[in-house]
């Protein structure tokens, strides 16, 4: 391997509102996602945290009527600039979804998918990259003897780790995770959480979660969002180091939420 550069990159959200048609789903967001850290976005359902996350890699562009006001940037690149190459953006901002969504192909081909889209590497290199990604997602030991089997034969937890492997195989700058454990059993959840803690050493990680313990365990920074009762738009209530948010919340709504009184 010749010249290499570190990849983790900062993502910044500035004065941003997100709309579905005429409805403002999220308003006035200012956030900064640090490299080599896990940022957790928490908040009650309907507060727009998923919408927020899905706007970072423009996957929400697929939703009819979705619109963004404000500036979201990856490094110094404006994500929603008309000149932005959306495909390249998504190569740089990987995503893991709420429900595991392996492609109906072999385990190997799932992980290799992103690697073979452009300038596919030599077979030996490809095999090595797939193995690296599977090791990183703590799945290698379980699947190394059945790489040719259909991915759909794996258990739910394994499928989700496979999707993580697929997302990190292409070495993105940022990794987005949309409630990655909500469809998993507790043991799988624990494995994925350990994985997230490892992954932050390589990436900028942003995770949306419903689960307070998960945010407390796996994240460095926590963003608390809530819905404004007046206009039903989601907004940020409080941002801070995870320890502070959970032990010493400044805002009464945050306190109520992290202590489990509503949500």
């Amino acid at each position: 391997m010749d010249a290499s550069t570190p990849s983790a990159t900062t993502m910044t959200v500035k004065d941003t509102s997100l709309f579905y048609g005429g409805f403002r789903a999220v308003k006035d967001i200012n956030l900064h996602f640090r490299p080599h850290a896990v940022t957790a976005i928490i908040g009650s359902s309907g507060c727009g945290k998923s919408t927020m996350l899905r706007s970072l890699n423009r996957i929400n562009d697929r939703v009819n009527g979705f619109r963004v006001e404000g500036t979201i940037s990856l490094g110094d690149q404006d994500v929603y600039a008309p000149t932005t190459d959306v495909v390249d953006l998504r190569r740089r901002v990987g995503m893991v979804f709420q429900r595991p969504n392996p492609f109906p192909m072999s385990i190997f081909d799932n992980v290799a998918f992103g690697l073979t889209l452009y300038a596919p590497p030599k077979r030996a290199d490809l095999e090595m990259m797939v193995e690296t990604a599977l090791r990183a997602s703590a799945l290698w030991g379980e699947v190394k003897d059945k790489l040719r089997r259909p991915a759909t034969e794996l258990s739910g937890g394994q499928q989700q780790r496979l999707c993580i492997a697929r997302a990190i195989a292409t070495r993105p700058d940022v990794l987005l995770m949309d409630e990655p454990c909500s469809a998993l059993d507790p043991i799988s959840t624990l494995k994925v959480e350990e994985l997230i803690a490892e992954l932050k050493r390589s990436y900028t990680v942003v995770i949306v979660t419903h689960n307070m313990q998960q945010a407390a365990r796996a994240s460095d920074v926590t963003v608390m969002m809530n819905m404004d009762e007046a206009d039903r738009a989601g907004h940020v209530i409080e941002v801070g180091a995870t320890d502070d948010i959970f032990t010493n919340p400044q805002h009464p709504q945050t306190e109520a939420y992290v202590s489990g009184r509503f949500g």
Binding site: R62, V87, N101, L117, T170
Partner: protein
């Protein structure tokens, strides 16, 4: 009294359902028995292996009919399959909703056009075009028939392929795009393989549609039964075309039996296609799909048998 009424109603409805089932059985039974009677006049080898079907010398070899059907349908599907696939991809992945609705109506209208109108247009547009572009002959033949069939099979293939693509979960599309695939890479590498069982079903049912098509093909193929098809440009025939051309005038019992046997073969072919689709369908059932209820007109588009 109320109870009696209920029982009477139920038995009436059951009878109606039974009529449907019995019709299918009767169809097989009557065409089968009357058709197989042909082997009382000639041995199966003569029927299946002779390359000539000629009522004047009472020689009924089914090969020219089979070959004509095979070539016509094969050639038609070669063009119609990719075309229909492109249209269904456009409808599901590219077109905005209003455009998609227009396309749906267009496809349904292709299904609604009577065969005889396809035949008429084949006669006035396709046949002269073939004659002038490829030179020589009358222009009637396998090529002209295939071109007509390309359009007649569109509704069947498009509507089923469209359903198959639409049934794919949105999460597959998001998954592919999220790792940086272009839309076409998503379609080609993820969606088409994932929808393969449905797409194969679409083509198989399109084949059934094309194999059974009668009048439109009969009007443009030239109806030469006495020899094997010589080229794509000269006169030939297909199984249904031969039946409709000759059965009304067939007087000898041998000729009639031979034609009914051809109908029975058609029946066997279409039933096998359905059985193949069913077998494939029950194997592919493991994946849960959310099926949209197709509109009644779309159902006609999908099931309309050849005229």
């Amino acid at each position: 009294m109320r109870l009696r009424q209920g029982i009477v109603a139920q038995s009436i409805f059951f009878t109606a359902a039974a009529i449907v089932a019995l019709s299918t059985a009767a169809l097989l039974l009557f065409t089968g028995s009357r058709g197989l009677a042909v082997f009382g006049y000639m041995n199966p080898a003569e029927f299946f292996l002779s390359g000539s079907w000629n009522q004047n010398d009472e020689n009924f070899g089914v090969l020219p009919l089979l070959a004509g059907s095979l070539l016509t349908v094969g050639l038609a599907l070669l063009i119609s399959g990719p075309l229909a696939l492109g249209v269904s991809i456009f409808m599901v992945e590219i077109a905005p909703e209003p455009v998609r609705r227009v396309m749906r109506t267009v496809v349904e209208l292709f299904a609604a056009l009577p065969s005889v109108i396809y035949g008429l247009l084949g006669l006035t547009l396709v046949v002269p075009w073939v004659r002038e572009s490829f030179g020589g002959g009358l222009g009637k033949g396998i090529l002209a028939a295939s071109i007509v069939l390309v359009f007649m099979t569109q509704p069947t293939i498009v509507s089923i392929a469209e359903d198959a693509l639409r049934a794919l979960p949105e999460s597959l599309r998001e998954g592919a795009l999220a790792v940086g695939a272009t839309r076409w890479q998503m379609i080609w590498r993820v969606l088409l393989p994932a929808a393969r069982p449905g797409l194969i079903t679409a083509v198989v049912l399109g084949t059934g549609r094309a194999v059974g098509e009668t009048i439109a093909v009969q009007m443009v193929i030239g109806n030469i039964t006495s020899r094997m098809p010589k080229s794509l440009l000269t006169g030939a025939t297909t199984m249904p075309a031969a039946i409709v051309t000759q059965l009304p005038e067939a007087t000898s019992p041998e000729h009639r039996a031979a034609l009914i046997m051809v109908a029975f073969l058609l029946l066997v072919i279409t039933f096998s296609l359905i059985a193949a689709v069913r077998a494939a369908g029950s194997r592919g059932k493991a994946r849960p799909t959310t099926r949209r209820r197709p509109s009644p007109a779309a159902q006609t588009a999908a099931v309309k048998g050849g005229d």
